[in-house]
Symmetry: D2
Subunit: 344 residues, 4 copies
């Protein structure tokens, strides 16, 4: 079992699995060794898309196959943890679709098992591999924005309401992965509000605030009932501010040379002794346009080869699940803050 061109099996060929299979098939550094799905219809689709690739209708058979180095788990959320644990026991590296698990306890067991078995655990927080997101991280890390004031994201559309998880686990999970990637500090508490508009269904609209020990604050608005699709993030800093519009094909990142300065002479009786610096230019930097999943697939291979460390590994995914769980609790309590720190 040589890992130089690792053999990868994609498990689950529903909505996301085909994207994973396509990317592992196309990068030269890995070998798409098989596709596994319990549903014969899905296997039929896999056969058309990837003629010649081995098809499995049994997950156990995949795990028994010694030539398989790694599995990509693209199945429903509730099955992530059990499938991941079995794979780790069978000595396979794993790439798990987001979120790592539907609760903190399950997610923790996967992270611990991966550590114990010394296998790579990568979680598919795709946005962290997108060129624009990485470009903004560079701007943050090189202190071009100065101290950060706030993160504010709107991620809304007319989306299919899911039966078992709220819009938080479907959409806010993306923003939490971006926040974790951009912001070094950890949030200390979360407040979340929202509403469900169809009886017996999970929340379709939610608003989540993350509190930090300094003045920094993060807010995420997710909504499955919006007539328009919006993917807009504001990132306010002391020196510069960014508007990231993921739907704009050309002008995704706008960097505003604007900010606030403390002034000696108050402007008026009722106004604080602060002034705005508006005179700066606006700048739209270019960034790497490579498809995020391709970057991620190559990163997974490099982790297997021991050349890189997971950018979106178990601990990162665990923090996200922890915040989602706390947000759900706050949501039930109409926004009452829930602490994220301390032993749990």
């Amino acid at each position: 079992m040589g890992s130089d061109v690792p053999n990868i099996v994609v498990v689950g060929f529903g909505y996301w699995g085909p994207n994973m299979a396509r990317n592992f098939a196309h990068i030269g550094s890995a070998n798409l060794a098989g596709i596994c799905d319990g549903n014969p219809l899905m296997l039929e689709k896999a056969k058309i898309a990837h003629p010649g690739v081995k098809l499995y209708d049994s997950y156990d058979e995949v795990l028994r196959d010694d030539s398989v180095d790694a599995v990509v788990i693209a199945t429903p959320v509730s099955t992530h943890a059990p499938l991941a644990l079995k794979a780790l026991e069978a000595d396979k590296h794993i790439l798990v679709e987001k979120p790592l698990a539907g609760n903190y306890h399950d997610a923790l067991s996967v992270v611990e098992a991966a550590e114990k078995n010394g296998k790579v655990l990568l979680v598919d927080h795709t946005f962290c591999y997108q060129g624009a997101i990485r470009k903004i991280k560079e701007l943050i890390d090189s202190h071009q924005l100065g101290d950060l004031y706030y993160f504010d994201s709107v991620r809304v559309n007319l989306g299919l309401i899911q039966r078992d998880v709220s819009v938080l686990w479907d959409l806010a999970v993306h923003d939490l992965s971006i926040i974790g990637y951009w912001i070094k500090e950890e949030p200390v508490a979360v407040s979340c509000t929202g509403s469900s508009h169809f009886e017996g269904k999970p929340e379709d609209v939610a608003y989540l605030t993350l509190f930090y020990s300094g003045g920094f604050i993060a807010h995420v608005h997710v909504n499955w009932l919006s007539p328009v699709k919006l993917r807009t993030t504001l990132l306010g800093g002391e020196k510069k501010m960014i508007v990231f519009d993921d739907l704009d094909p050309v002008e995704k990142i706008k960097v505003y040379d604007r900010g606030v300065v403390v002034e000696d002479n108050p402007v008026g009786d009722n106004l604080a002794p602060l002034a705005y610096r508006r005179t700066g230019d606006i700048w739209m930097p270019q960034f790497d346009m490579t498809e995020a999943i391709k970057v991620e697939a190559e990163h997974f291979v490099n982790c297997i080869r021991g050349k890189e460390s997971p950018i979106t590994g178990g601990k990162d995914a665990l923090r996200i699940v922890k915040i989602l769980e706390a947000a759900e609790k706050s949501l039930r309590l109409k926004g009452e803050p829930v602490n994220l720190e301390g032993d749990r």
Copy 2:
């Protein structure tokens, strides 16, 4: 003292007073009888803008003048209640800049005094007089949207931070007036989060959620530190949904013929038996383009003449102040919900 063409005196000629004076000077139904300001520089500006109009440097003098029918109070928030009470005692009708007062107690005393003295109390919630806002109210009231799901507003810009009130009292007050105008039901609780980024200054970013007894939910995002100016409201309904962009000079109101329908056959295992109706058209209705302050000024005159009842009267303003006060309390408690019902 005949009220047929009432004599109006504008008190305070700072930021907002000039707009008020200009509109009362131009409508034929009222007479701009004077301008009052304690600051000689402001009186000098008033003289240039309105040559021939009587200037007062003393508020008491205005109130003693029997020919004055009404005063427009456009002074700092903290002075609204005392000036309003004195005007009512002097038997003048009043139009007060928003918010009516800086706290519920003061606002209540003004409302009670106006009722007792039988004078008109109008509060300057300007947006309720804007053509686009009134057009959307028509669409709501004629049930074209069906049951309402949510109200979501973003009102952010790089604005001057105020010394004594938070961004809630400066910006969210507008959304609360629009919500009160559009939505018949009353909110039962509020949760609010936010942050201040300059030591000793009030909150410059805030997020406010209003809970209602049904599934309807309202959310307001206000921010003084945004690099871009945004004024966008989403209004989701069962049958139709609206996007209101107040900054678009032409396409302010977009009505989307989209919604959610319950389906018999679930789409997939993990998805709820709901489907989206996306096939409808988008429609941008025209609306009255008259300047809102002009409509408001004429409405004030008609209220004085007894021909109309205040659209944004004392009780409406009181509810807004009550919500703002509760939101401030929730903000201190990191989002803990604060009830709005019950005797107070």
Copy 3:
């Protein structure tokens, strides 16, 4: 040779051929029977994309194969006519990429040969099969716009400059097909201006005006050197006006209820006794979102089966080539008008 599920061979697997092959492979009504290309590299790509489909490196072999009912010619423009003529002689139906030929003489010979041999000749003017373009045709044909005033199109981007044909033959050809599809009347003359910015290269910027016998006028702006991509068409009518933005994923078609009315009382001394009617709404109708090539592929099959007549047939394509040829002539003469009527 039964045409009920006709056997189609795609000839040329460069830029456009793969799209054609993919669509004929996916519609149930036709059979993608083969792919032909003289370049082994292209055949290798075809093999990967369409495993199991017969590959031809010789066009003559395709034509000798009696089981082949039709060929899709997706080769460079200069080869269209010779390949088309050979296919018609071999009794095959043909679908030819746009433009039908590089000059009027060649195009005419293909049209005449198709008529003589009684075979289907369809030219790939894809836009005429796009839902939005067809929706606008409906609005025109149902007289909702009233008399038409003008057609104005901007089709610019940073595109690869072609060695042998000017931007007219690459981009304006699309607008000419749309004009032919929407406008019943024929243009009587053309004026064209433009410029080449690289020595020895064809024009990369061009402006084309079509004159009609009434007041209607059409203008097309094409440009390979634009920093931004624009695809915007204005269509002015007596009763309504349309803005078609092909790059807007949602709001492609906007119908403006605006126009001009003759007024009795002139507004001023210097102004004509005309007034604008601006009070109408804006409306964004929905339309069929099916991929245009798929609609076209199915239409080609239906033409072969004798169920439909070519929407973009030989005569339509011939008119377009005639206009392009006249425009080129006018371009050399710095805009001097060239007649399109008369015997040629």
Copy 4:
């Protein structure tokens, strides 16, 4: 008659005159000494707007007044030349609304008279005083765009059709002034097409191409029948390209670091050995936001004082009128090119 704070009289208080009067009243360097209009209603409006300013109902009286240093002529186009000539004879400096005259002959007589009498002649080509236009001139003059390829402007809206002049003289005049300001080279010929849609009325849609001796080309699209208002200019250069959108309140100027480079290895058989450089950033420089008319008014005063030379003087205006006249001629000839060079 001291010119240090020159006394200015605005002649004509219709559409444009009030803007001129307001600006001359507000700049400290000039004195708005009077307003002249033959129409008593206009004088009444002037009285309200500028109480205390001397009103004239006779132009001759203005010219006889020795205290008047300069007149601003804001009357219908056909009166520009006669009023200007009389003012120059009366030894007044003049600022004339655009266009300087309705034909080349008249414009020339004014320019010659101003030279002979040694008075300042400024023509109100306002755009040349706008911050964004001046910023772009800086970028051009500092060679940041490299060699220029093309100028392309769209200036369309639903505008009041004028009785006596075509849309060229109303709208294209602005673009010609901008072209003259930005581009050092002179055009050698013009081709113009267009159409009139109302019997007996001048052209309401027009397209104008300016040819230059190199590859540079300029095109202007003006239209009074557009459902939407557009003010967009593309400026293509070898090194950088600009999109100027005058209607965007924030992002007026976008500088694209894109261009074309000659490549050694051709991309494909049918493509020229050129490639596009797309990797550059987009940049939105800030610029002076001062109202253009104010800048222009101060410039006029400085010209009177002898401190500056007219930026939009007689010769500039003359060239514009010459192009408009030639364009009208080409328009009658359906685009036939008309030379601009040579003795006339």
